[in-house]
Amino acid sequence: MKLIRIQAIAKKEMLQIVRDPLSLAMGFMMPVLLLFIFGYAISLDVDDITTIVYDQDRSSMGRQLVADLSASGYFKVVRYAEQEAEIGQYLDAGMARVGLTIPVDFSRDLRAGRVTQLPIVVDGSDSNTATIALGYFAALTELYGRRISPVPEKALIEVRARVWYNPELKSRNFIVPGLIAVIMMVIAALLTSLCIAREWERGTMEQLIATPVKTPELILGKMIPYYVIGMVDMALSIAMATLLFEVPFRGSLLLLTVISTVFLFGGLSFGIIISIITKSQIVSSQISVVATYLPAFLLSGFMFSISNMTRPLQIITHIIPARYFVSILKGLFLKGSAIRILYADALFLLAFGIVTFAVANIKFKKRLG
């Protein structure tokens, strides 16, 4: 392999990228845009649950309960109903997800120390939110009940739970690092998916394969500019995650750089393989998105826990490179993991990179037809 040829290919490719502002902008904007959209769209946290209250009692105790619910941040009262039918209307229209009725004798029962009932209806069409809403509601009313109860109950067992790595249990904290891995997998393959096909389509490949340039020189040279773009994308993603989404980054930036390089090597090689096989830019870009996005999204453990999958699916996840990068990024962000924890995942990414690069070299033929 000759360095001068690798340099020549890399420089040529870089010039072409720079002179194509649209694709350049796409290379930088895509990850930012995707991270922005998904980062905000995907949230498993439930707060500001729209609530309609029908207060028949109109007492200070009832108002206090509603104030407590609102103050928690989990519930947001959108309407005080004048009559019971309104609850049905609001839930039907989706304007509220929870309907709370405070019965006429609510305060009287409580003052007398009697157990009172609190009817609540929940929109179960989103079962996840409904379950969480009910949980919050039960907890908050219990707190309220204990506060106004004249005789405090004594609990014999008190749980003192501490949550590690993500003490506030913010779903964004584990979604965003995984999301970066998924997005980078797609971007890496997409970036290089065009670069070989373009030369075949434009007729420049025939000229190039008639020169003594060697296949690894060609492939490495083509990967270098896209590696630079990939690393910039990576940096942009990390900056967005920490500054915009306020996800803590506790690991080593150097380690992140090294592992990202290994990851990009595989991802970019994967795009090149697709480009080599299809020889068509349109087909190649579509295949690379589907072939990376679906497995990375569904089987990487980024959103859907691998341990909850059926056995055959679990086995398949082992060959999804995004799985290892998701795990590494979560470790780096939240746990500040060191290389001795991450090396197994990193080794797999390295193996993936070596295999895809080798396949790309084997698949590329300096021949027509």
Partner: protein, 306 residues
């Protein structure tokens, strides 16, 4: 040191499915020749070029270029040759200079000789004023000259040009040929394909290709005289009507129209007077006539019709 012959091919064949693009081609080209592969579209010229430059694998047969077999040592061949594909193969989004430098790097042209050589290439191709222009913004003729400059940046021993003057204006074509003659004087072997027969006349040797093989091969002059057929050229006002009439004359083997004249192939010399008598009888005024040596086109048409 004696160099191996530039090109040898024996039984070289390439099929695409059931189509025999190149069919049992034999070829021997010496150093310093300007060899023309001549023939209509679809004759197999481009496929032959691709086989000889090592970018297409033969289905059967073998060829040696610069002493290396195309099947197993294509990469060695590529160091010795320059190639210009039929379709413009340079980067339109790179400038003239960037294209040349790219190929200089790919061919590992030493820094010490690079500057002088590029200046010379730009000079004789008249591209010096356009070094910073994007290749895509060049005219057809300039594009071809840039292609030639890129193919020559490593001073190849053998130059392959696939229809290099296709779609190039006459002035640029003349420039282009001037460059080729300069190269020939420097000892570069040139193989070019063309469907222009006037260009074929300028080659030192030509091979007429038809259906994937060479049907006749010699110096252009010899190829023309090889057609042992007397021919006459007749100038007349009404070429089309005259052509119809002449076709019916006994002893006429072929008639083709060239603008305001007819080329008439004769089975024997005596038929010439029969042609003139017939035209006069039909009231066609003949302005002039003469005996001619067949043109390459006449030879080609006659050979293909056989």
């Amino acid at each position: 040191m004696t160099l191996p012959p530039a090109i040898i091919a024996t039984g070289l064949s390439r099929s695409f499915g059931s189509i025999h693009a190149v069919n049992k081609l034999d070829l021997a080209i010496d150093r310093g020749e300007l060899y023309g592969l001549v023939g209509p579209d679809g004759a197999g010229k481009t496929t032959t070029m691709r086989l000889l430059t090592g970018i297409l694998e033969p289905t059967s047969g073998e060829a040696w270029v610069a002493g290396f077999p195309v099947r197993t040592e294509a990469e060695r061949i590529k160091e010795k040759i320059g190639y210009m594909s039929q379709r413009f193969g340079l980067y339109e989004d790179l400038t003239v200079m960037e294209n040349i430098l790219f190929y200089a790097d790919i061919y590992e042209v030493a820094r010490s000789v690079r500057k002088a050589r590029i200046e010379r290439l730009l000079g004789f191709s008249n591209l010096t004023p356009f070094v910073d222009r994007l290749a895509g913004k060049l005219s057809g003729g300039m594009k071809q000259k840039l292609g030639l400059a890129c193919a020559l940046v490593h001073t190849p021993e053998i130059l392959f040009l696939d229809e290099p003057t296709n779609g190039v204006d006459p002035v640029s074509r003349r420039d282009f040929w001037r460059i080729l003659y300069d190269l020939l004087r420097e000892g570069v072997t040139i193989v070019l394909s063309t469907s222009y027969l006037d260009e074929a006349e300028r080659c030192t040797r030509i091979g007429l290709m038809h259906k994937g093989t060479i049907i006749i091969e010699d110096r252009p002059k010899n190829v023309r005289s090889s057609l042992a057929m007397p021919m006459m050229e007749v100038w007349t006002d009404k070429v089309r009507t005259a052509g119809e009439i002449v076709r019916t004359v006994e002893g006429v083997s072929s008639v083709s129209v060239y603008g305001d004249r007819l080329h008439i192939g004769l089975k024997h010399k005596g038929a010439a007077s029969a042609v003139l008598v017939m035209l006069e009888r039909e009231g066609i005024a003949v302005q002039d006539y003469r005996e001619i040596l067949p043109s390459l086109e006449d030879v080609f048409i006659t050979m293909v019709e056989k």
